[in-house]
Symmetry: C2
Amino acid sequence: MQTSGSGPVASGPVALALDFGGTKVESALVDGAGRLLPGSRFRAPTGPSASSEGLWESVASVLDAALAAVGDRELIGVGIGTAGPIDERAGLVSPLNVPQWRGFPFRDRVVEWLRDRATPAPVTLRMDGLAITLADHWIGAAGGVDNVMGMVVSTGIGGGLILGGATVSGPTGNAGHIGHIEVGGFDVRCACGGTGCVEAVASGPRSVAWARSQGWTGNSGEQLATAYTAGDAIARAAVRRAGTAIGRAIASAAALTDLEVVAVGGGFSRVSPDLFGFIREAIDERAEFGFVKKVQVVPSGLSDEGPLIGAAALIHRAAVVTGSAEPQPLGSST
Amino acid sequence: MQTSGSGPVASGPVALALDFGGTKVESALVDGAGRLLPGSRFRAPTGPSASSEGLWESVASVLDAALAAVGDRELIGVGIGTAGPIDERAGLVSPLNVPQWRGFPFRDRVVEWLRDRATPAPVTLRMDGLAITLADHWIGAAGGVDNVMGMVVSTGIGGGLILGGATVSGPTGNAGHIGHIEVGGFDVRCACGGTGCVEAVASGPRSVAWARSQGWTGNSGEQLATAYTAGDAIARAAVRRAGTAIGRAIASAAALTDLEVVAVGGGFSRVSPDLFGFIREAIDERAEFGFVKKVQVVPSGLSDEGPLIGAAALIHRAAVVTGSAEPQPLGSST
């Protein structure tokens, strides 16, 4: 189950980071500098075939493995980044791609798990998009910037918001659904019911599907990247189209929230470095609004450890996490 | 110049409220309960024909008139709501519809004006859309709600954001430009450069223009309201179209910021009560997202005093106004 270790030897207190998604759940111990402890990263699958309790057993298995790696270090909390939607106050999750969990009491189950192991520690649960934004704000491309949107362009499009130096998760915890900002000029129906949501236009699978509708014969984002580099006209049009839509979504978000930096990560964000040029062109169309055009769009500075570092940031960077003091009645220490 | 008095006799400390727009500037004294002092409301025109200094003289005239009405009450500050864009930190304004003012040092001019009158008091300047949102949050339809968007649907579409119980004005002060959120399904080019910005679709003038393009022969939002009530098919389609676009913009904003209440005011918001039904239908299209559908859209509870009450809220409700402690170097008392 252990997948990798990395970085120099960590010291000081550690957070137990958990990243839960539709295909896998990962855990790791992370120190106060955002470094994963060598030998503390674990992974288990979370497929559609598992039962609700089977999913929880996968979670518990990676939690147990990471806990065993704590040794004599101080564990200062468990940070959970999860696919959404969620109910932040109640600690419930209903991930769109995990139909077995609807209103699953994720936070309280982790609190119980800690209690059963006589390990009191606070538990903070947030959307994964917010966690990765916190990671970029902590050690990545948006370090030290007070008004940031993180954006993950992959199978779907998600993200998170930090405004005025503090996270915005909203009364239910679902702020940051940048994938479901509509964009003009693409009247595609989204699975959520929206019209022209940027996720329905510019995600990896939707970009591949659009290219295929134009006669391209590849099947994946990776193949689209290769075709782009080779100069294939449809692939180039597909990447431009995605960049235009992403840029328009960012411009709308900047008009609403006056952003300084948008950090864009996720597999499809690496389809070509040119993607960022197309994003820029779309934002610069907002010629009349200097406060929109000022937004810097940069590649996320994070590796595949980003989601875990972000989950750990929920603990190590609690001072910038709003709402983290919600009641945790089942034995938590805070 | 004096236009009206209203309400019961005020008591306690007062704020001097200033509302600056493209056709007029108004002032009033407002008490701690959000009431205008009788006899303290003044207005002067701000037309395109005035020079930059002529505009300032209009502002100073209404400031002087309101100041003379203070009497022996305590003046605790001057709150300015202004058309934007602005540079909040520097206190500069560049209202789109007031080309004479580009980078005009509005806040410092008011600070100087206070100094010249030996009346030390803090000065807070924010976008008018934020001010009116504060007014709805203080005494209007969004009272006591922590996550609110105010929206003014009139000649243009503007607004403001309160998230987590505090205003969001952003690093430049321009957050809340809800009119420049794009919406899917309407590929109209906006004056700002965007594609399908809700202001370019659903403002009063744009709705009238669309109805005329369909063969309707009226000329104003008021006539469109009358035609709607009379059952005119084009007028009904025009109001439905505006409601759909406004609803889609609200849904995108809710997806990004997890809003609880949106308070909608402005002249064109009163074209028909049915407008709110069309807005609701568009939001409810987001069938998969309970956290989007939960948003309540309500008519603003404010009269035409709303912008002044909001400007006063910048002072009386300073505890919920972020960033209000910026340096005011030219003699302000805070």
